[in-house]
Symmetry: C2
Subunit: 138 residues, 2 copies
Amino acid sequence: MTGREKAEGKERVSRILRFRDYRWDSVEPKTYKDPDSRWSNVIRHGLMGADTDAAFHVRYFEVWPGGYTTHERHRHEHVVVAIRGSGEVRLENKWEPIGFGDVVYVSPNAPHQFRAAGDEPFGFLCIVDAERDRPVPI
Amino acid sequence: MTGREKAEGKERVSRILRFRDYRWDSVEPKTYKDPDSRWSNVIRHGLMGADTDAAFHVRYFEVWPGGYTTHERHRHEHVVVAIRGSGEVRLENKWEPIGFGDVVYVSPNAPHQFRAAGDEPFGFLCIVDAERDRPVPI
């Protein structure tokens, strides 16, 4: 057992998070960040990582119609996989369309932003290192 | 730049891997493992990780009808997200159905196996630590 497991007094147990229309049992949707004017209409689900020993966290972000994430950069990399609706990603100040199954790699310190397109929420998995630096708004 | 980036003489560049019917531009499907009798009808796509500095790799596995992965265990954890068709996961020697959006966490050293269900290929993302131990067949 690792130190964290010992501290919690339990071992890791395999489990299944059941999907129900882009919500998951036992995962509470949260606001993306503290409210400010840099983002709008985004919710986040911490799917996996906070209570594992893996070197990564898996989150699901949903950007509602008209919404967008913060335009920001950070040292840690993003791997994004779109799984709902359609949206756009801003890379090198150019907006590119992305839809189901598209995989986006955001390299270290690259400014990036996501926004919804169309009438359905735009949802994507975002995988990051468990240990990572804080984003810096552009 | 990290040592690896310097060694390769290049910096990481953000990019989009375009999805085309469960294949991705510039990602070549490979056999799951060397052929043996422990698995059948599985292909793997290394989506992201081999040429990044992230602490994780993202792969897409596809199990064709009648197919199954090796029943195995390893110290490193799996996070699986089903994105195509339907299948089953074997955990603690019990088979559980999984379908689109279900998230499976496989804990350290837990024996596990995946198999297809139905007529469509069963596809899932599988995220693992970049540095990990080798699987041991059960």
